[in-house]
Assembly symmetry: C2
């Protein structure tokens, strides 16, 4: 069948979409979400079909194409294109099987990851995939197979020498240990190439924070060069195409904020596996707003990470840490970056909890290499930090990645003060994160919170608990409106 | 915030969609699927946000709007519109709860059905809803509450007098008992207003078949008039707005062909409840291609239908029938309509299994009214059919709904013959349905199959098993290509 092309002048962001008028679709027994094969001049594209109910958008006899399809098939408005039927991708059958409780094998998971990577599944199909895993669970073998499949359908890189890595599960604002651990471990002579994500629902990801100091969007070639030169890097993982299916799965998890255990495990381990990490330290913060909101869940995650790591041939250590309140003083990209730099400079006012946690974790990583005996890693980490070697290494990394002009702190600010005398008995992670986001973080780098009182500290009546920073008056007002209902602090 | 409107010239078919450039979305911390409130001149619309990655489709500072939004807010290309944030609909929280195993209460299910009815949920959110019910199951109370909520969020109609109804679960090609039961029951003096669906995955629904004889797309007022005049109707349910959420849920079930038990129960019962049926007969065909593919599942469905019916105050009878092979000789809209008319005319060549099953079911319905003693219903039904009263009633209904010009049988046809002598030991429902669909049914009314040999019949070598009809050569060739791999018949 031939159809006349209508350029819809819309980009979908990857997925190949074609639109038929509902009358044509009915004649061909085609439904929304069905696959059709379009051909032009030797090029082919399997598109996902949408149906137009309006004759204005796509009239009968025409086929509306998105930019990606036009580019792929070198088509223009009003050219003719050949349509052929094609079945659903095989992976849809596997997703359906999983929904009905079947265990999936490697080959089946590979099909699914491959189709997700190449945008051959619709949102509905991807959502069924996430739901199936959420409700029926993934066993260890499936998680291992999914992790492998995620890596195989993307790029895998190998750096020179034995590579270390770390990961902190999210949910704790300000938890920027990565930016201290990496320079310490690299200064000790080990390779640690860290790819990080940007914030999705938090006020700052490591990539957003590091971007206040250095360029984090580097092409693969440049990243390898940085690692060769400094033994380390802290970059955004996006450009590397590491486990791309993972990022596309996260897109359909976000609308309902679901994150099935198996998906979390595969997501973390796939990123580590794709940079060929040998020793991996995983930080599982436990607290009411984190993934591990009970001791039982934390222990289960620890067990699963170790098991999956073992099957993938990685040496995985898991620590369960206190995730009940924020770490560090700054919340938001610039404020968190300044926190990190203060610790590196051995500034007496630097955040003590961030410093302590980062040293502890760096110490464990150093011991995992076998070069330092149990108990000696922490001392080595401290020596590197206190001697200024860590700061020097950080400056090296920043130079190698390309220094960025430091953003300015938001000039619109407000002190949030305690209404009474007492002790800070609670700081709510979710509320603190929400306030920082309303104030503009992470898009506004200079927006966020500076915590002046941490957990268990004594506070006088009228004393500042924290300061809110925003880059414009409107966002500060919005944040203050929220704070009037809930400051996130409990003083007793 | 104000944005300049860009008319996207696309209709979404109900759902309100607005598109922002990704840079604007990032600044406002908005994500695909988030809700935004648009205001113009006193009118408001809550829209679901899409993100444009291309500056060409929607440049910064502009907001792309679909036709539905433009109409609702009386906006034109280049007008200005005010954007405000709005949270996710509350029902998203309930869907998430269900995913994590919570039981939902009436109020929560009402929220979900209301949001689905008014297109306030995205496909991803609706898919999570279906998945949650599929994997965690719905208990009887939830099914009852969901059924009520589906009905409450749509229209409920009440016909004069005690109303009867029937439903056959799908999966058996040719199972057109409705078109015989309705005239028989109405001729006996009872009210039976039947709303039917069109085929989604089968070669013909009752609505598609009835449409070969009469108009089935009637406005509500006209339907009521037909029922007043004839005590019956056989129309497409679409225009009545009965349990509209159900139809929108089915749309996201289709891509993976999933149909959770609770959803099936609610779907069937909601349609019956919204026409205020008093006595309802449900036919559960058992066979490998039907919902009830084991005796255990069939019995469970029977139990659940009765329970739900009881709680909704309906007198529900469930029969488990043989669903292992097609009923009747014709498969496809016109061929099935001719099958029905042959039975009504007491044609000696009429399909015997269709006649027998319909009489049995009509008999049960007559007994359910209490007017006929046990064992007497069947005799009454037979008398009505054999005396020609049923045919007369059918003609009355056709006239009242508006007679349609009978479509022509496809002129491209092919006999499929047995390769050997023997007995027909198996007729595969799915394969027969698939062949009829490839040949063009249900869109091509005159396409389909005429079965010349039924199950257990003796066949000679070279004798015709069935004839395939298509309205064009291309579709006949496609069907023959499929038949060469699988005829759907086993002769032993």
């Amino acid at each position: 069948m031939k159809f006349r092309v209508k350029d819809m002048d819309i980009a979908s962001g990857g997925i190949l979409i074609a639109i038929l008028n509902q009358k044509d679709a009915a004649k061909l027994d085609l439904h929304s979400g069905d696959r059709i094969l379009l051909r032009n001049d030797g090029s082919e594209a399997t598109c996902i079909l949408d149906i137009s109910e309006s004759d204005k958008a796509v009239p009968e006899g025409k086929i509306g194409l998105f930019e990606e399809v036009l580019d792929r098939l070198r088509l223009k408005n009003n050219s003719m294109v050949t349509l052929r039927f094609t079945g659903k991708p095989e992976s849809v059958v596997h997703i359906r099987d999983k929904l009905y409780g079947k265990r999936l094998a490697y080959q089946e998971l590979y099909h699914i990851m491959d189709d997700i990577t190449h945008d051959r599944l619709t949102d509905i199909e991807k959502t069924y995939f996430v739901s199936a895993g959420l409700v029926n669970g993934w066993n260890t073998d499936e998680v291992v197979d999914m992790t492998r499949a995620m890596v195989e359908t993307g790029k895998r890189v190998k750096f020179k020498g034995r590579t270390l890595d770390k990961h902190s599960i999210g949910g704790v604002p300000g938890n920027r240990t990565t930016m201290l651990i990496i320079p310490i471990v690299a200064a000790a002579g080990f390779t640690i190439a860290k790819t990080s994500s940007r914030a999705i629902t938090s006020p700052a990801g490591t990539a957003d924070t590091m971007e206040c100091l250095a360029n984090v969007e580097l092409p693969e070639k440049k990243i390898k060069q940085v690692v060769r030169k400094t033994k380390a890097c802290m970059v955004h993982g996006g450009a590397m195409n590491l486990a791309p299916a993972d990022d596309k799965i996260i897109e359909v998890e976000h609308p309902l904020s679901v994150d099935p255990e198996g998906q979390l495990l595969a997501s973390v381990m796939a990123k580590k596996y794709s940079v060929t990490a040998r020793h991996v330290l995983i930080d599982v913060p436990m607290g009411k707003s984190t993934k591990a909101n009970t001791w039982k869940k934390a222990k289960r995650l620890r067990k699963m990470f170790r098991l999956v790591g073992k099957k993938l041939g990685m040496d995985v250590r898991v620590i369960i840490t206190d995730g009940s309140h924020p770490i560090g003083n700054g919340i938001g990209p610039l404020l968190e970056a300044e926190d990190v730099m203060a610790v590196l400079r051995n500034d007496p006012l630097a955040s003590e909890d961030l410093r302590r946690k980062s040293l502890m974790m760096a110490g464990i990583l150093l011991e995992m290499t076998g070069k330092y005996k149990k108990g000696k890693g922490l001392a080595k980490a401290r020596e590197i930090l206190e001697s200024g070697k860590a700061l020097k290494k950080m400056e090296e990394i920043i130079r190698a990645q390309g220094r960025k002009k430091r953003p300015k702190l938001g000039v619109f600010c407000h002190h949030v003060c305690s209404g009474k005398i007492g002790r800070v008995s609670q700081i709510d992670n979710d509320v603190i994160a929400k306030i920082a986001r309303i104030a503009g973080a992470p898009a506004d780098k200079g927006a966020g919170l500076f915590l002046r009182k941490k957990i268990h500290e004594v506070v006088k009546k009228g004393e500042s608990l924290y300061t809110v920073y925003a880059e414009n008056k409107f966002k500060l007002d919005l944040a203050m409106e929220f704070i009037r209902k809930n400051t996130g602090y409990v003083v007793k």
